[in-house]
């Protein structure tokens, strides 16, 4: 039978560093999936995951076991991803005018029939990524957690460390920012 999280954490705290490896093995798929929401390049994703686990190891003494270890680790992961977004805030102004032909085709088909299902999954995914890249770090985090991952405001507050009212304000601003980006993107191509 595999040791529980609590047993492994207790062993690490006593100095048996090797017991941290099963914890990494157990939770790295979830941390990788989270990191891939915010970073595109695989080397960036790996850097984020590595940083999450190193922070987790260093801060293990502050884990109070009031919530499951997984929740605590995911909070660390989301905050590390947010730090990554803030540090790697790219030049967000230039990419809107560089829509690829498949992306423009997808938008044209959408404009012609908004309610229909449209083929071209890759183009749609590229458009999503393009729009998310344009958002500010706060807006991207909020849109990802609230709309794409469908989490509640309270959950987001716990994950990010922001207050519930702040999450609501940032969600409102994030939606407005996304709308503005979509407006700019479609105005440039369809007006």
């Amino acid at each position: 039978m595999e040791p529980s999280d609590a047993e492994l954490i207790a062993a690490v705290r006593k100095g048996d560093v090797a017991q941290f490896e099963p914890l990494i093995t157990r939770y790295q798929p979830r941390v990788f999936a989270t990191a891939r929401r915010y970073a595109r390049r695989e080397d960036e994703v790996q850097d984020i995951v590595q940083e999450v686990f190193i922070k987790a190891f260093q801060k293990l003494d502050s884990f109070r076991a009031e919530a499951p270890f997984e929740h605590w680790l995911m909070r660390l992961a989301v905050r590390t991803c947010y730090d990554f977004l803030r540090v790697h805030q790219r030049n967000r102004e230039t990419t809107l005018t560089e829509l690829s032909d498949p992306e423009v085709d997808w938008l044209e088909r959408f404009a012609a029939a908004p309610t229909q299902d449209h083929e071209g999954g890759d183009a749609a995914r590229a458009l999503v990524e393009r729009v998310l890249t344009q958002l500010s770090p706060e807006a991207r985090l909020i849109i990802t957690l609230l709309e794409i991952e469908d989490r509640s405001v309270k959950e987001i507050a716990e994950l990010t460390g922001w207050s519930v009212p702040l999450v609501k304000v940032r969600a409102f601003r994030a939606r407005a920012q996304m709308r503005k980006i979509l407006e700019t993107m479609t105005r440039e191509k369809f007006l």
């Binding site: 560093v17 090797a18 941290f20 490896e21 990494i24 093995t25 790295q28 798929p29 979830r30 990788f32 999936a33 891939r36 929401r37 790996q46 995951v49 590595q50 686990f53 190193i54 190891f57 260093q58 938008l107 959408f110 404009a111 908004p114 309610t115 999954g121 749609a124 995914r125 458009l127 999503v128 729009v131 998310l132 849109i143 709309e147 794409i148 469908d150 939606r175 996304m178 709308r179 979509l182 407006e183 479609t186 369809f190």
Partner: protein, 99 residues
């Protein structure tokens, strides 16, 4: 173009395509190696931590000594003994030269 519908459509596309949770081979070994490297550097961190912990006891000892000195010191110096000591010091050179 209907922006609200486009917004919902793009969110739906993102929801339908969650990122993969694949892990590179032996990634946990890489992290463990990094942790081992950190452990070497952590000697200094530990040293710093101990220094910070020593601040409180050092301040306590200093405060204790200060209180002890204040309590045991006479409130006013004895004027007679000070006068006598001053006289002894000044006249001692005359005594020596007179001899």
């Amino acid at each position: 173009m209907e922006l609200d519908k486009l917004h919902k459509k793009l969110v739906a596309v993102a929801q339908a395509n969650p990122p993969g949770n694949g892990v590179p081979y032996a990634f946990e070994k890489r992290i463990m190696a990094r942790l081992a490297a950190h452990a070497v550097v952590d000697v200094w961190t530990l040293y710093g931590r101990w220094l910070w912990r020593a601040v409180t006891p050092c301040f306590s000892v200093m405060a204790g000594l200060a209180i002890w000195v204040l309590v045991t010191m006479p409130s006013e110096p004895d004027p007679h003994s000070l006068e006598q000591a001053l006289e002894n010091t000044i006249l001692s050179s005359d005594d020596v030269s007179g001899e």
